[in-house]
Amino acid sequence: MLTFTLRRLLLAIPTLLLISLVIFLLVDLAPGSPASEIPLTVPPEVRMKILEALGVNEPLHIRYLLWLKQFFWVEPLNGFDAIFGTNYAEGMQRIISYQSRSPVFPLIGERLPQTLTVIGTAYLVGVLIALPIGIYSAYKQYSLFDQFGTMFAMIGFSVPTFFTGTLFIIIFAVWLGWFPTKYDTTLEVTDWDSFLTQLRQMAMPVMVLGLANAAAISRYMRSSMLENMSQDYVRTARAKGMDERTVVLKHVLRNSLIPVVTVIALGIPSIFGGAIITENLFGVNGIGSALIQAIRGNDLPMVQTLAFIFAILIVAFNLIADLLYGMLDPRIRYD
């Protein structure tokens, strides 16, 4: 297992480099330019000057190599400086966003807290709702509970977040006046009252995202449980006189977790990626809304950096999922 992990980690380096190149080419090739944010009243000569100052006109390979150097050398050095108060990175050009003309990493840092709190909570809530629903629905297949759960999951999944979000705003903010429609990112939780305010402003985005997440995960849980419930070993276990609880929660559940682990592992990097529509709708202004704004403004350094961090997380969590498979089912061997 250890050698497998090490091999995979080593292999991850060329993989990630390749991914970074593909992302770079893709973003560069995409139609659109940072100039789309400049109003039409600005004359073309000025427009060209602005683009030149951004460094957009440099050849592709130079920009890519510069980005690599900045990402793997300048930015870590900057981080080192920030921690130990040294100044090794002084005078080195950091990765600069086209839109705000400021280093990309502090911008990401600014947005991470709200993304992790809101999207992370939503994911956790989603998983916590989904697993019991999935398990119980499978155990009592075609019961009223199951039918209801199916309905809930299907509606949760087939109705897009732009719809549920707006619906919730109208119901909970406009009609009932319970929750604010805009998330206040400057709020600091210091006491009970500010904690309650934080809970209230999180409520709607968490509900919207939690619903969507729970829907998908509960379906996978249910189907996987069903698959295993009809296996011979379950009959054997029951025949042995094992109590239902142990059969279901220990044997069946454990064997049913593989697809669920896959789905959850695929979902965790997307917590970092944020939720574009929901974040935007509620003014959470986390990573997701940063990404979409950067894409719309063709802010290549920002898109590239975010997408690459996302890629690292995907590779990491897929590796974790592979390791978990081995633990859940010892028969799976990679060596």
Binding site: S33, P39, Q99, R101, A173
Partner: protein
Amino acid sequence: MKLTTALMGAVAALAFAPAAFAERGADGNVNVLYWQAPSILNPYLSSGTKDVEASSLILDGLAGFDEKGVVFPRLAESIPTVENGGISADLTQITWKLKPGLLWSDGTPVTSADAKFTYEYCTHPEGGCAQAARYEGISSIETPDDLTIVITFAAPKPNPYTAFVGGTSPILQAAQFANCLGAAASTCTEQNFKPIGTGPFMVTDFKVNDVVTLAANPNYRDPAKPAFATMTLKGGGDAAAAARAVLETGEFDYAWNTQINPEQQMQMAAAGKGVLLNGFGTLVERIEMNQTNPSPDLPEGERSTTKHPHPFLTDIRVRKALSMAIDRQILVDIGYGAAGRPTCNLVPAPELFASPNTDCLVQDMEGAKALLEEAGWVDADGDGIREKDGMPLKILYQTSTNPVRQDFQAVIKDWWTELGVDVELKNIDASVFFGGDAGSPDTFQKFYADVEMYANNFDGTDPEPYLAQYKCDKIPGPENQWQGENINRFCDPAYDALVDELSKTSDMAKRGEIAIRLNEMLTKDTYIVVPLVDRGRLSAASNTLGGVVLNTWDTELWNAQDWFRVK
């Protein structure tokens, strides 16, 4: 509860006059919502409306434009004119005087050197200054003393109120930005995010594309203003959500650019928590007619270039018929409501430059059909589509993606279909359409379509550069990386000559006449540009926010120092 509110209202009405003499910072916090959040607070590095408007709370110029488009002094003592000797008789020099005793928010004095520095900052060749056009034509700036700024132009400048006038060209503090010239501009994150200014507020915290928190400037020139101690300028969401947050939930006091459909305008205003403000500027939604052939059968690099004239849109009768088939009032009712009005002009304002042309306002379907018949376009094979010499009258009509524009497309397609024209619609994401990427086939400059619809306006009150966009030498094409502004590839030597005359004319009345003439040459004489709707600005203000005056000639936050809480 109801009664007390009513009483409070009565008190507020009585107290209305004293509010003007209120104390600085007496009214607490004001919440402003810009659904597109600012990404930088230095207007010289980003010309996006959101960035310029947010910066205008902090940074000030010598003068600004009021809600009527009239120049009024900010840091300057008075407005220089030819009459008061502030502008030289040959129009090559303008002399500004600063108000004495002005201080930056950090307490240091404001001097003419700051203005000169700002000029150098923006005209630095490597800086990529977004507002360079405001400083165009300046040959030098002299500062004979601490309060005097003398701007000399290379040629007579009939409209000298460009540099340091309006929210797009404020004065920066030389001391703060000294190390940020040229290529160093983007290393100055601290400066760009927290500029020291002379405006009513100063930045306490800035989160990019998210929220700006501001506090009253302790050194603001009017000791009684601003009435608010702090301001929060939040971003995110869309226009409808922004309008809702002011008008329906009352979480915010002011929301910028709440462009929502007329039905929603009525419904949200009915909630009674606030009002929608609208004002008209120079923004005109129009259809541009391509004078060159966009056919995909032509080789790349020759599509939509002057090498191949358009097969039928070069015929004025076809263009005129297409315009006549449109009922502009219906478009306004569908898309803009109170925030729009029908127009036949490319330059709808200021009054001096606006043509009285109203020819296009009445739809004339029969007249349009007759005109096409006259031009030889008849439906010979009875399929509902007119042909001429075997070529069907088929139009590709493109625009950017936006619900109102798609409704317009649907309705105009109906009218044109009734006229016997085969219309294909196409919509393109705004970031691509307006992106100007020479590699993309879908930009509005490339114009790979027969007609396209978008809106444009001009900066400030002088339409000269705007009208000059339609000169022959500004036609986009592969040789200039498609960077021209003459989108429809219109070319008329007489038009060019008249534009040149305008640039040499200084008499305002005469300028007005020429501008009107130029406008008519593009619209009612030729139907090269088919204006549809004069689009106003629409913003929402809470009933508890006083002093708001919507301004379409400068930034919307131009008088934030006068805002106060209605108690």
